[in-house]
Symmetry: C2
Subunit: 323 residues, 2 copies
């Protein structure tokens, strides 16, 4: 089969990959469409030493697996868990100590004709959710993880730093809480998507220091972190949604004096994400800025790496092009 | 009056200071004894640009104030709050946006014959608590702040990094929760104080990576931070109890991937601290390693700055020497 293969920080289009064989408890999924995420770009930059097919945001059709899923469209949680470690026993498979992670760690990913995942990781896509929209389930779930970790309510002033792919989804999910939300970025046209949904927006200098209860950092760059940190009043919460290619240098004393909480936030719950998409409470269509067949995957990555570009999709199986 | 005055990172013994005059709502306190804290040492190193009398851990006797406190021994909360800002209205005076802080920010401190504080900051010392012991109320309250911020129970594996002044108090308070506690440090004789109380101790290399639920960093140095970070399993909590003279460089991505919570922790509640001291549930006597009259304050600081030294006391009023 075909797939985008990462090796030594170089991405290659390979046509000689064996179609994966599902292990016991796994399904074989024919990939319809996949989305390029910042983590994919970070992997190419060497954020984590991964070798294999990359890609973890996808919609596919089950070809081998339990009968109720055969020929159904599915999305999939990316952490494949062992089922018996400390975290699995506590019902937290996303932190399984022996996990493999689709397209990120020891498991070939979604930028290929086929992938395999444990059946329990798969969620059927509701009929009224298009394949385009469903491709955003994984990043939308990651955005919802914030609300699994901290409570956000209408009394709180919340800042989202970053108007990129993740910032867009985080902002829309936080807006649903009724909190007093401001989203800042550097790109007026990207902020406009949010303004159209009634979300308060501003350019980077719109932030007053020490005035927010919660700040969500969605840029993955040190300036974004700094803005988020400065925006917080005492006892504020800084949510880190982005990975960073390098290390960050911080004034840790100020975290102590102001009793700031910094909380890392990663993968989130798929069911509520699919529900929000089915109810059309989150609008992902404006985020799609390019669409390439898998055979043009390297071009797709060139496009995705350009500054200011939102979501680039890889259409893997032809049928999806008419979606 | 006499006092230890900090100016341009230089400490001076001054004998020409005016005795402070209490403002409305404040009491005049004659200082009996005061303790040198790491924050005092950091202030001299330039952690925060303060000019004035330093010192914030003290026991004194009220000379002017409400009649029920006159001639009583008191300890005092160090943050003097405005009473009307966002945090004061929420009942969090320790984060008052307009606060002054005894011996740290815009308020002369305790290494002097007299100090003033708002009456509401003062707590009478129970008769069965000696002045030596009561001098530890402020740092003990700071140790207890951890349990105001996070819940600690017997199911959790907790690591304290650091066997210094703060680490000793943090360890003793955490041990009272029944948690599975390990304290690590570099000084066998300091760790022995804790081992005598039945607390599990180890040298720095005793820590297995990714095995603790909570790690409390009490060293204020980057190595301590690194050990605390590495000790945490996913979703662990890293409590920062120490201020750092410089900035720290960290792998922020790993905080995201492991969904670690980092929480700064500063001043804590005085009443439960006094109660623990009155009930003798925390033993502070072994921490006292030196005692100097105020006139020898500079020598006291020289002693306190030596590596591995625990608490150095300044005896300000003679009577306390026979305590």
């Amino acid at each position: 089969m075909n797939g985008l293969w990462l090796e030594n920080n170089q991405l290659h289009l390979r046509t000689d990959l064996p179609t994966p064989e599902p292990s016991s408890g796994e399904a074989l999924v024919k990939v319809l469409q996949a989305g390029i995420c910042n983590t994919d770009l970070e992997l190419i930059r060497g954020y984590y030493p991964y070798q294999g097919v990359i890609g973890h945001e996808f919609v596919g059709v089950v070809e081998q697996g339990p009968s109720h899923l055969i020929n159904k469209r599915v999305v999939g949680e990316i952490n494949a868990a062992c089922g018996h470690c400390h975290f699995c026993r506590q019902g937290v498979p996303t932190h399984c100590e022996n996990r493999t992670v689709l397209g990120i760690m020891n498991r070939n990913g979604a930028f290929a004709d086929y992938l395999t995942l444990p059946v329990e990781n798969l969620h059927q896509v509701p009929d009224n959710v298009s394949t385009d929209v469903a491709t955003f389930t994984e990043p939308l779930a990651a955005a919802l993880e914030i609300q699994q970790q901290i409570s956000v309510d209408s009394h709180q002033r919340v800042l989202v730093v970053g108007d990129g792919k993740l910032g867009q989804l985080v902002s829309q999910t936080l807006a649903l809480t009724g909190c007093d939300l401001l989203v800042i970025g550097r790109h007026q046209e990207k902020l406009t998507h949010l303004a159209k949904r009634g979300i308060k927006i501003g350019l980077v200098d719109a932030v007053r220091d020490r005035s927010f209860d919660i700040a969500v950092e969605c840029t993955g760059n040190p300036e974004g972190f700094e803005i988020a940190r400065r925006s917080l009043r005492s006892r504020g919460i800084l949510v880190l949604k982005s990975t960073y290619a390098g290390k960050l240098t911080l004034d840790v004393s100020s975290l102590v004096v102001d009793e700031i909480t910094v909380i890392g936030s990663r993968c989130g719950p798929f069911s509520p994400a699919l529900e929000l998409l089915a109810q059309r409470k989150v609008d992902v269509q404006p985020l799609i800025q390019g669409r390439y067949p898998l055979a043009d995957g390297l071009k797709a990555f060139e496009h995705a790496q350009k500054k200011g570009v939102l979501k680039i999709l890889l259409s893997v199986t032809d049928s999806v092009l008419s979606d």
